[in-house]
């Protein structure tokens, strides 16, 4: 920086002192000396010109190089001087190379544009990076590093190293250093330095660092004739046909290497047969007989013996050819010490990566588990207290979500609407639950199977009503801005804030329910009715009232879960049905009527689902299938769930 300013001052002083020389500044002088190399620059010769130009220390050098690379330099034909030339119709507006001042105009035909080829431009670009890396603007410097990494080379490594010393911004300095490590690992001339850099890279899971390592480990596939690896080759792997590489592919590699004749495909065979049909027969085989594979091959071989078709290798011949020749993966890097170090680093990185991915998966599972917990806890409590399965539970989730949607229609502020929607959803769904209990479930006491079906009837009706009222298309439930985006914990671990919020919500409800059940009069009565309703009734507890209250509570929580689910998924009339089976599974696995059982069940099912999805990421449907099968198997060992319950519901 300071150097440049000093150079500028010196230049100013110098040009002021000798006005006559202003005609031909230092750059122009160098260019004139090397005029022919400049005019017809080649990748090899341009280096010397650039060095000579650099020696001038001219402040215009960077502008000149950029213009040269962009084809904005022209040579005036009459005197061979070089100028910045701006094309304007039929003329070039010229400006001086050393001062940048206007220097008149010249007709289009009286000047020659310099057209450096791609190779030359690359060399010029490398020279420019030097300037950009020390540019006064931090953004330009950062972009220069990024550009440099897109097309890295050994020369750029030196330039980058030189610029690190002068870097003053700490973050940018670290950025440059990280890039330097990656370039060192790939391009340094000293193997020891490369190995050191490679070992440094093992500590990072950043994608650029992994890419640098895998570049070092780049392989190419060759066919080694007679199984001998070429001298000095750094063999990465010897591929066994049929195991590491398909026999088909291995054979076509041999074909490419001209070691064996190409395979005759069925199409080629049939074409050859059809072409050879004469008088209803092919090589003595009547056409009508060619209706199975073996006969067709026999006919083809007969053709081949008559030299009417290329011969083919038999399966034995193919096996023998694959046996004789070897297919090798060779490292492009020839030094095995370096590839060994890179392999070791890569293994370490992959181990670390797996750890981070596991953590990420764990967080995913946790957030899924908290959704299942919210959806299922209401079901678990009502099932425990009343011994009935409420098939309409999913529709309470839906009611909650639609409540949230309606609130957002009236309250445009997303934060405020959420604050209103949560308690409102609790009340709406809770009231619907109380109504269901009063009107239907109470009258079906002791008929659990019929309750199940009757609540299913309610569920069908509610779904259809929602469809009729809100339409079939999905309705959005928009989350406020502070819930948008995600929490980036590391390169691979991230959780969206909505999921964090749902987790917190689940924790709050867990605490609330545990408090209500353990510390309040209502909770005491609920536990009493759960254990023995007859005894509880004779102690002065009204099981009907308790049933109604629990039902309201459970349904209300489902409504809140609906708002939470609606925030990250869409609100549809069928959203509840999608969660109902998972909720049942959660309850069944966890143990009926137990809060902590439900928690364990939700954790197990969420973890299991994410785990299976991870094993088979392309197929979430299969994940659900396997999970349900697992649960059916689980019931074999713990028919009453993780936390079995004593009392009425345990009687079955």
């Amino acid at each position: 920086m300071i150097r440049i300013i000093l150079a500028c001052l010196a230049l100013l002083a110098w040009s002021a002192a000798s006005p006559a020389a202003a005609q031909e500044g230092p750059l122009q002088a160098v260019l004139q000396t090397n005029a022919s190399e400049v005019e017809r620059a080649s990748r090899r010769s341009v280096g010397e010109v650039l060095e000579a130009l650099a020696e001038t220390g001219s402040p215009q050098l960077r502008a000149f190089l950029e213009a040269w690379s962009d084809r904005r330099i022209v040579m005036r034909d009459e005197d061979g001087l070089f100028f910045f030339g701006e094309r304007d119709g039929d003329i070039y507006r010229l400006s001086d190379i050393d001062t940048g001042e206007p220097a008149g105009e010249v007709g289009r035909r009286e000047a020659t544009e310099l057209r450096p080829n791609a190779g030359v431009r690359r060399v010029i670009g490398a020279a420019l990076v030097r300037f950009q890396l020390t540019d006064p603007t931090a953004r330009v410097r950062r972009e220069a590093v990024e550009a440099l990494e897109r097309a890295p080379s050994a020369e750029l490594l030196e330039i980058l190293r030189a610029s690190i010393e002068e870097e003053e911004v700490p973050s940018l300095r670290a950025f440059k250093q990280a890039a330097e490590r990656r370039l060192t690992a790939r391009f340094d001339t000293d193997p020891a330095a490369r190995i050191a850099a490679i070992e440094d890279l093992s500590g990072s899971i950043r994608i650029e660092d992994r890419a640098a390592l895998s570049r070092v480990l780049t392989t190419r596939r060759i066919v080694a004739e007679n199984g001998e690896a070429p001298d000095g080759a750094n063999v990465a792997a010897r591929l066994r046909p049929g195991q590491d590489i398909g026999t088909e592919d291995a054979y076509s590699l041999l074909v490419e290497a001209d070691l064996v004749p190409p395979r005759v495909t069925r199409e080629a065979r049939d074409a050859a047969l059809v072409a050879a049909i004469s008088e209803g027969a092919v090589a003595g085989f009547p056409v009508a007989q060619l209706d199975d594979e073996q006969t067709r091959w026999d006919a083809y071989d007969a053709l081949a013996r008559l030299d009417a078709a290329p011969a083919r290798l038999t399966d034995d011949g193919i096996a023998e050819a694959l046996e004789t020749h070897a297919i090798l993966d060779l490292y492009v890097e020839e030094d095995s010490a370096i590839t060994d170090a890179a392999r070791a680093s890569m293994d370490a990185v992959e181990g670390r990566l797996a750890l981070h991915q596991t953590a990420d998966l764990g967080l995913d599972a946790l957030s899924l588990a908290s959704i299942y917990f919210l959806a299922a806890i209401g079901l678990a409590v009502t099932f425990g207290v009343m011994g009935v399965i409420n098939m309409a539970h999913g529709e309470f989730i839906m009611i909650g979500a639609y409540t949230g949607y309606v609130v957002q229609l009236f309250v445009p502020d997303y934060t405020l609407s959420l604050v209103i929607a949560l308690p409102l959803a609790f009340c709406t769904a809770g009231l619907a639950g109380v109504a269901l209990e009063r009107l239907v479930i109470r009258h079906l006491m002791h008929r659990p199977l019929e309750t199940l079906l009757a609540t299913f009837g309610i569920s069908v009706a509610l779904q259809q009503i929602a469809k009729n009222v809100f339409g079939t298309q999905a309705r959005p439930l928009t989350s406020p801005d502070w819930l948008a985006g995600s929490w980036q914990i590391s390169e691979v671990i991230s959780v969206s804030w909505i999921r964090v919020a749902i987790f917190v919500l689940a924790l709050i409800f867990l605490a609330a329910i545990v408090y209500v059940l353990r510390r309040t009069r209502l909770g005491l009565e609920v536990r009493a009715v759960t254990q023995n309703p007859g005894m509880a009734a004779s102690m002065g507890i009204d099981p009907g009232r308790i049933g109604m209250l629990t039902f309201g509570l459970g349904s209300g929580i489902a409504g809140v879960a609906g708002v939470a689910i609606g925030l990250y998924a869409q609100v549809t009339s069928e959203m509840g049905a999608g969660y109902i089976v998972q909720s049942f599974m959660t309850v069944v696995v966890g143990g009926v009527g137990s809060v902590f059982g439900t928690l364990a069940g939700a954790g197990l099912i969420g973890g299991l689902q994410k785990g299976i999805e991870w094993l088979n990421p392309s197929n979430t449907l299969a994940a659900q299938t396997f999970m349900i099968l697992f649960i059916i198997a689980f019931i074999q060992f713990r028919p009453r769930g993780i936390v079995p319950q004593k009392g009425r519901a345990a009687g079955g």
Partner: protein
Amino acid sequence: MTRIPLIRRPDVLAVLVGLTVLTLLATIGAEMGLVSTSFVKTLGKTLCLCLVAVAMDLVWGYCGILSLGHMAFFGIGGYAIGMWLMRARTEDIVAAQLANRPLPPTPEEIDQAAATQIFGVVGSDQFPWMWVLSDVLAVQLIAVVLVPGLLALIFGWLAFRSRVTGVYLSILTQAGTLALSLWLFQNDSGLRGNNGLSGLQNIPGLTHVPQSTLSLWFLWASAIALAATYILAAWTVSGRFGSVVRGIRDDEARVRFLGYDVEGYKLVVFTGTAMIAGVAGALYYPQAGIVNPAEIAPIASIYLAVWVAIGGRGHLWGAILGAAAVSLLSSWFTGGGAPDIDLGIYVVRWTDWWLVLLGFGFVAVTLLAPEGLAGLILRLTRRRPDRIGDMGPDKGALRREEASAEPAE
């Protein structure tokens, strides 16, 4: 214990006569051009639904197992026969196309082309493993009963031996059904994912027979299957086996203490009815023309339970009544047959509101007429309903009436 000869029982007689009259009327009507082919198909399909409803009534109304998976067995039966129908027909078409080539087609080529034709929609050009024997009709016919039977046997054995009962069992069957349908929804399950199997109304080898005739054949086949199953079911439940099974429904523990192998009885009923459901499905889907995983989803099985409950469980003929009434009403309402009601401010369109009516109507039936249509009819025709109280395994089970009286029907 003496049995009333089956043929003298009024319900058996009524069912047999009713089926005969129905099929004869439909045949005559179709021959005279009064009844459309699609209506004959609807009748045939309804009879198949009645058949599976009888199976459901056996397992739920008599054995007390609320299975929410019998429509899955129904669907499996459809898939089993559909595999043969689709493959045989596609191979016929493909062979006809390939016959124009200069070389006569090889069996491999026909296979390959048929597989591409069938599985092109799911991005595959090979027959999956389960299709290996799908070109043999006998194998697929055996699969119609064997696959549902085996699945029911394995599932039932696992569930019953760990003493899973009541709502737990219902939920478990529902989960199993869901697992099956989700698996079928995948493209790589080998059964064309959510495309399902289609074109099943075309019977290979019978392409010269018009659909109007085929539909009558299927109507007759469905009626015969229903009649045979009804007689078999009525005979089964009227004997000692039936008494034990009803005992299990009413109080499982007591029957176990009396020394009966409760799990064995349940397993026989569960597996047997699954096989009946498979047969019903195999008769239904060639009439429907297409089978896809949505038909196996748990909701279908729940509807089946609803039909039986509305018809009146514990009466085989009630199940038939319920299935026929609700499925016909349902297609009348959803098909736009019912007139819209103009309320001035809002027009009630039954295509939108039928499910609401069905849902609430079903709740009303459960609350007000727990014995369903059959209970109402019995109350009208007899002084004394043959049974007081509910039919569940809880309070009111094993009434003295039932213990002393002969089997109800």
